[in-house]
Subunit: 378 residues, 2 copies
């Protein structure tokens, strides 16, 4: 603890966060002192300001900006922006955090500039987040944490965390949690990792994760398994990204063979999402590759009679992806795979492999796929 | 491993499961050998066959039965019932499991008695589960695991699990997972516990769980915290129930002050749900009590200006609970609380306490409430 009773700031990132907030505050003050109306320059967060650069590997926010100037009409939102930034600064100093929902409630004591609805506080937080992202800082570094975490981890990984009170290091051995798993916290920036695993396997469903965990697939395959539970949350994506970056590990994605699995779950993990382009640089996993289930797997592994017809919504999602998704459009392999699925008119779940026996996935499917990682979809 | 290569059966419960399945099979065989049409007697699973007994503390299935007799019309569902029971027996012997979804896919190799849709396999599994429940066995003991687990645990608890391969005991210290947590597995029957905690605190939202975990509330309050994430899953409810029974611990529930929090989250945790009455005896937590947030808390803790108006759906849910919910109707305290909420015409979330500062919940609200557990709603 510091002499004034506050917790010490823990990292360079914390210092950069405070420096950024201070510099904005100083600039506003100097505006006022020189008789100019105070302004804040914020990135435009609309889809029109989003691009996909294959070399960078994620959907990225462009250079368009909007300027919020203090006027009679903007007095309230201007004050709210500054108070949220001040809240963020205070949380960095006290080593605390708030969910978006809590941030909304904190404002209930702000008198006339209180938020009436969470949509208001969310919009202003998104602005601040977009601004911070231009300086390499994510919302978590501003100490606004997501409501949801959700991902679980098992396998050959030691997570290194810190005791919040003492800063003392804690090691969590994800190979020693029995049939349970390690539940990813809401913020993961402070974690580090030790592992001898060869890759990370990101799994769509809890049922498949439990199967691979109970049979200790990660031991024989020498890997780390992650339960995404559908489209991975921010915390899960960031965890996989940090793990992949820090330990130089490839990430293989194992999801259902349907347009939702391709264009929502996998695409979001790999390159992020279009309506949150200002944060993708932190949350995407450019090294992710698609293990399966692919349309070709349905043929190669004899799953035809364990498929389901494509629903109208599946067809629509697939056509949308072919027409509008910059990531899909940049990869001929994905275009071909989605066209193949549309032509087959069926989808297959990862559990469909159980048709050949509950542990066919462990004994046959995954070993055959992992023997040829070069064939994975990009 | 046994001499024949199979895994050993692990528990008395496993033996009872096999005995039950064998006895049903023998009875069918003896029907056939004596020239009678084979029959299976199954409990009726409709709401009309559900009662609430306050002394027992859960919504319970009644004594009504239906008899499934093998005829030309029932040949397919009769065969499916037997094959699912045979699958269950094989999984007990090989110490494996299947999700409901996997059980459906397994049938794809059953020829003419394959399931066309999962709704078919689910209905038959529910029948078998209801039958097993009359013998004190849950679906997990039949080795059909739920798709979802979801709950996380932190605090003064050591979970004792077993290495699936060796049976060797593993201890997971839930006080030593840093900012992360222990993710509850899909089946928890084999777990045991060591703890010196005074109580279990079951929390609705992930955000509040993370706050209490990061600030190690469980250390100062000497408790175990559970993240339910809305209505708790089967695995989460069963985990809390086993922990409460085996370690003789009271369970306090901390959820939003709204009809969904009372009549869905809390009611399901405590007494189970009406449409799954055959399983409530395993999954309900009769010792649970409602810490808050109560309608009176809105007044006592000055949260009036951090509330939201009741939506139409809230009012409807509250009125339904007063009229139709056997648990609510049995408790005058709950009737009064729900009427008070309807009269106040507002709801409040647990995060609303952030109005008084992010850690007001830790420094003020929870200590004041926990000083008077006798006042908790039943």
């Amino acid at each position: 603890m510091n002499k004034d009773g506050s917790e010490p700031m823990r990292s360079d990132l914390d210092k950069r966060t405070v420096t950024l907030i201070d510099s904005i505050a100083k600039q506003i003050r100097s505006n006022i002192e020189s008789g100019k109306p105070p302004t804040i320059k914020l990135p435009v967060r609309s889809l029109a300001n989003v691009t996909y650069d294959e070399a960078k590997g994620y959907l990225e926010i462009g250079t368009a900006h909007k300027v919020r100037t203090l006027t009679v009409n903007t007095a309230r939102s201007f004050a709210q922006t500054l108070r949220l930034m001040a809240t963020s600064r205070a949380m960095v100093e006290s080593n605390d955090f708030a969910t978006k929902r809590e941030a909304y409630y904190i404002s209930k004591n702000w008198g006339d500039c209180r938020f009436d609805e969470q949509a208001e506080s969310d919009a202003i937080m998104d602005d601040i987040e977009a601004l911070a992202s231009m300086h390499g800082l994510s919302r978590e570094q501003l100490r606004f944490y997501p409501e949801s975490h959700g991902g679980s981890i098992a396998g050959r990984l030691i997570v290194i965390d810190q005791q919040p009170a003492t800063g003392e290091s804690i090691e969590i051995d994800c190979a020693n949690l029995g049939s349970g798993a390690y539940s990813i916290p809401h913020s993961v920036e402070h974690l580090s990792f030790r592992t001898d695993a060869r890759f990370v396997l990101a799994i769509e469903t809890g049922g498949m994760f439990q199967r691979l965990n109970n049979h200790r697939f990660w031991e024989t395959a020498n890997c780390i398994i992650v339960e995404m539970g559908g489209v991975p949350t921010r915390a899960t994506r960031r965890f996989i990204r940090l793990l992949s970056d820090k330990r130089d590990l490839p990430v293989y994605c194992f999801v259902d063979c349907d347009p939702y699995g391709f264009a929502n779950i996998y695409r979001t993990l790999k390159v992020g999402s279009g309506n949150a382009a200002h944060i993708n640089r932190f949350f995407c996993v450019p090294r992710a590759r698609f293990l399966g289930v692919t349309p070709q797997d349905i043929i190669d592994f004899g799953l035809e009679d364990a498929t389901h017809p494509l629903a109208k919504s599946d067809v629509k999602r697939a056509q949308d992806a072919l027409r509008n998704d910059p990531f899909i459009k940049a990869h001929p392999e994905w275009i071909a795979a989605i066209k193949q699925l549309l032509q087959m008119e069926v989808r297959a779940e990862q559990q469909a492999l159980a048709k050949w026996g509950l542990n066919y996935v462990i004994d046959e499917y995954l070993p055959r796929k992992l023997a040829d990682t070069n064939s994975f979809l990009p």
